[in-house]
Each structure stands twice: as C-alpha cells, then as structure tokens.
C-alpha cells in the first residue's frame, strides 16, 4: 500500500546583496532609485548589477547614478489566481511554521488577487525592473503606459519600500 508522509521544510536563509545591490537597497531607504552605469558601454542598469552583461566589465562604485522614478510598462501580467486558490490566513500558517517566519512566508508576500506585476523600464535605464502596478485606473493599463513609483511612508532599505508604481497617463 502507498504510504504518503508530509514534511513541511522551513529553512531560514539570508542573502548577501553585496556593495552594488546594497547601494540600491540603501537608496530605497532614502526614497531614491539608484542605477549603475557601465564604464565601457554606458548602459545603465536598474536595479544595478555587479557586472555589465554586455561587456562583462565589473561595475565601478563611482558610477552609481540616481534615476528618476518614472518609466514605461514593457510587459505586464494580471495575476488572478493564488497558488493554493485561497490565500491562507496567518492562523493557518502559524500551525505549520514558526511565528517568526510567517511574515517571510511567500504565501503572504503576494498581494490579494487580482494584482498586476509589470516589467518597467525607467526612462534613464537600459534594463527593466519587476514591480507591482496599482491604481484605480487599472483597466487603462497597457503596453507603454507611463508609471511613477509610489513610496511607502516608512522605508527600511527593501524592494517593497516602493509600494508600487502608479499609472500617470
């Protein structure tokens, strides 16, 4: 006979941003968006990367640039379905994982459905960044929509210091 046992695996991790991505995250705390410009080809990466993917040059700390928090939607998805259908409650999760880990649980990271994730190319960047797009005018969202970052009141040096991008036109 088949015997199926269950084992939820919870392993804590911490990830090292390094000085380049760390500068980006630190900038978010100050409500600024930081990119890095390749010394060799001049391409601007937002979020910044450790090396230029085109010329494989290491990025230089002195080449950080602050970019305007405005850009264009280059692709988007409206997510209508959570992985498990219903979003689980904190009470449900607290029976399964330690309370300290609940806020880090991916099932609670994601907003209530439906929500929109977009590839956003900031005007002064050559790469796209992923972020949420929110707003009352969602039905008007289309490729090429103009968006602007909306900040959380309290910022902690985290990608979600940007609450979302709002459609401006």
């Amino acid at each position: 006979m088949t015997k199926i046992s269950n084992w939820d695996i919870t392993v804590p991790y911490q990830w090292t941003p390094g000085p380049v991505l760390g500068t980006f995250l630190g900038g978010l705390r100050e409500k600024t968006i930081t990119g890095v410009k390749c010394n060799s080809c001049g391409k601007v990466y937002v979020p910044p990367q450790d090396l230029c993917r085109d010329c494989l040059e290491d990025m230089q700390v002195e080449n950080f640039v602050e970019v305007k928090p405005e850009g264009t939607v280059e692709g988007f998805v409206k997510i209508r379905q959570n992985f498990f259908g219903e979003r689980p409650s904190k009470e449900y999760l607290s029976e399964r994982i330690s309370p300290a880990d609940i806020d880090q649980h991916p099932l609670l990271w994601f907003p209530e459905v439906p929500y929109v994730v977009a590839m956003i190319k900031l005007d002064e960047a050559d790469t796209c960044m992923l972020h949420l797009v929110k707003g009352a005018d969602m039905d008007n969202l289309k490729m090429g929509s103009r968006v602007r970052a909306a900040w959380k009141e309290e910022t902690i040096g985290h990608i979600m210091d940007i609450d979302s991008f709002k459609i401006t036109e």
Binding site: T2, R53, F83, M129, M160
Partner: protein
C-alpha cells in the same frame, strides 16, 4: 572530428500522477522501458547522464544518489546535469557528447521529475527569482510567461486567440499519444475560450499540466549502433545555448539564444532551409504562446511571423512541418523529462516508430528544450540516414 552517434533505444513512462511508485521506482520504470526498447541491459551501458530539475519539486536533495541502482548501472561513471526545464535536453546532449568524444561507447541519458510530490510546484518555481529584488513580485512560471506573452502580442499585433489555437492543435494531437497526460476528446476552441484567466493574458487552456514522468535515451557510437539496431535515429546536431537574464534591452518576445542554437545546429546538419528540410519538430510549448515564439527562434519563419505560420496550417499534423505531434509539453509536463521527451519524440519520428502520431515518411526531425530564466535552449536534429 566527432564520432557519429545514433540513438538506439528510447524509454518513456506515461505522464500522470504515480501514487504507487516512489521517485527511484519511477526512474527504474523509465530505464527498464529503454532497455526493453533497445534490447540492451545495464551491463552494456558505459556511463549515465542524469538530469532532474530543481530538487524542491520533490523536497529530496541529490536524487542522483538513487539513480545508479534504479537504472542498474553501478560502479560506472554517472554525471548530473541541471538546467531547469531544459535539463532533459541538456542530459541528452551531455550523453551525446560523451559518445561523440570517443570516451564511451554506449551512454544512457535519463531525466524526470515527480511534480505531484509537492503541494505547489509554483511556490518552488518562485524561488527561481532573485531573492532580494524580484522574488516579491515573482509568481511562478505562468506569470513570467504571461509577461513574455504580453510583450509578444504587443510587438506583433497578435492576441490570445492565436495561443488558444496552438492549445487546440496540440491537445488534439495528444489524442494520438499514449504517453500524454491530457488526452481530452473533442477539445475545441470554444471550450478553450471558456477556461478561466489565471495570469492575464494566459488562460488555463494555455498552460501545461503537472505530471510525473521519466524519459530515457540510449546513445551509441557508430560501430555499436550497427550491432544494436538497423533503425537508429542518427544525431546530426546537438547544440545548447544560454542567454543572459538581466542584459540590457532584453526582449522576451525575441529569443536570440534559440536563434543562435538553431543556426549552429542547421549548419552542422547541413540544413540551409529548415522550413523545407525539416519534416517534423517537437518544441517546448510549456505555454501555448511560446510555440509561436519558438517557431521564430527556430527560423521556421521570420521574427514576428509565428502567428501567421500557425494560421497557414503548416504546423498542423497535415501541414508540411507538423510541430508537436505528441501534443507537446502542453499535454505532459514533468519538467525534468519534458525537454528529453521532445528529443525522444523527434528521434522516434525518424525511426518510423511514433505510432499513431507518426508523420509519414519523416527523415529529418528537430527536438527543442527551454528552461532557466527564459534563457536556456537545446536543439537536437535527427536523421533516419547516417550522416
């Protein structure tokens, strides 16, 4: 100069939920199928290349530790390859390299997954996203491909209707494939249109199922091939490439890595006009829209012409270049085996052993794989004639 290499045996398990087989038992089932198909036994296998996509699908690390016993090949070389959804293709190409190099005579590639061991493959797939800046937005594979789809539609003026037609084509093809998971009689465009939107613009009909499966291929050097079978599938080309993930001006609707792999493969195979010279192709259509994007990457048509190629009817079973006679990944996706199934199905076609899904008279076939951060591609070309 590389040795000539032929495929001399193919093993497949049906794609479905196996609640009565453990992970190694499913690998054993796949290996035994390849032994039965080739007439070989473990003693004749000189090395094994093992593929298996991310361990979080089963929650068991190092599944290759079981593999040597499961396939019956112990005290011989075993190599693990891991390239996400491409892994089955990478393992096949790895096995091909080992034989082509002359180091080994007969090598088995075997790859699979039991996706039904996890309560959510998509939670696991979300851990593919970069942890500090992307994972909060990452929502599994469907949402990444939905971004790709929205970019493709906007760039060339296509819409979801084209993708649904791919889904209907491949689901109807799968009725001829006993190894497919989704075999749905009378699957219609009207029915596909009524399926719910899961990640706009993709509907449920645009998405692959969750399967358990293993696929295996046995590769042999020219002199051994002739001892084993008189109907091998000769390997004309085996190419893999990887695009970057974060490079500037990256266009998800334009897979330059696939075009590069295809062009190299065609050159090695001596193919100057792939649309004319390839008789049948199996591509990694994990999501319906991707089949059209891969047509373009594979140079079956110009950039932007994928939807029009579909509409022309050329890639249907009665067209001049049938794509995914097996039903493709849209009808069976174990991830670990899916890219190898593409190669194995393509090989079966030129062996003339593809059963009800056989394209009559197929001489040259192509099998493709896709994976990673929409970045890895594998292309193999097979022929019924020795190169």
């Amino acid at each position: 100069m590389a040795n000539k290499v032929g495929v001399v045996g193919i093993g497949m398990t049906e794609n479905k939920s196996y609640w009565n087989l453990s992970i190694p038992a499913l690998y054993r089932k796949g290996a035994l199928s390849a032994y039965e198909d080739s007439g070989l036994g473990p003693a004749q296998i000189d090395a094994v290349v093992f593929g298996h996509s991310p361990e979080y699908f089963e929650g068991v690390n190092h599944p290759e530790k079981w593999c040597s016993e499961a396939v019956g090949v112990v005290n011989k070389p075993l190599f693990r390859i891991h390239t996400g959804g491409t892994v089955g293709g990478s393992a096949a190409i790895g096995a091909y390299y080992l034989v082509a190099s002359g180091e080994f005579d007969v090598v088995m590639a075997i790859s699979g997954n039991k996706l039904n061991e996890t309560s959510s493959a998509q939670i696991g797939l979300s851990t593919v996203y970069e942890p500090l800046i992307a994972r909060r937005m990452g929502a599994g594979a469907p949402s990444a491909v939905a971004l790709q789809a929205s970019a493709y539609y906007a760039k060339y003026g296509y819409d979801g209707e084209y993708s649904l037609k791919v889904a209907v084509k491949n689901r109807n093809n799968a009725m001829n494939n006993p190894y497919a998971q989704l075999r749905i009689p009378d699957y219609t465009l009207e029915g596909a249109r009524e399926t719910p939107v899961l990640s706009y613009p993709l509907r449920m009909a645009d998405m692959c199922p969750t399967s358990d499966a293993v696929c295996a291929m046995i590769f042999a050097r020219e002199d051994k091939v002739k001892e084993i079978t008189d109907k091998p599938a000769w390997v004309l080309a085996a190419v893999s490439t990887n695009e970057g993930v974060t490079y500037p001006d990256r266009d998800w609707a334009k897979p330059i890595g696939l075009r590069l792999a295809a062009d190299i493969a065609y050159e090695r195979a001596g193919i100057s006009n792939p649309r004319e010279e390839i008789d049948v192709a199996e591509v990694y259509d994990a999501f319906s829209v991707q089949e059209m994007i891969w047509y373009e990457g594979l140079n079956f048509c110009e950039w932007g012409e994928g939807g029009n190629l579909l509409e022309s009817g050329a890639t249907y079973m009665d067209g001049d270049l049938p794509v995914n006679p097996s039903g493709g990944v849209l009808c069976a996706n174990s991830i670990g085996a899916a890219a190898m199934f593409r190669k194995a199905e393509a090989a079966l076609q030129v062996m003339g052993r593809a059963g009800d899904r056989q394209v009559p008279g197929a001489q040259i076939s192509l099998g493709h794989g896709w994976g990673g951060g929409i970045q890895f591609h594998t292309v193999m070309i097979f022929s019924s004639n020795m190169p």
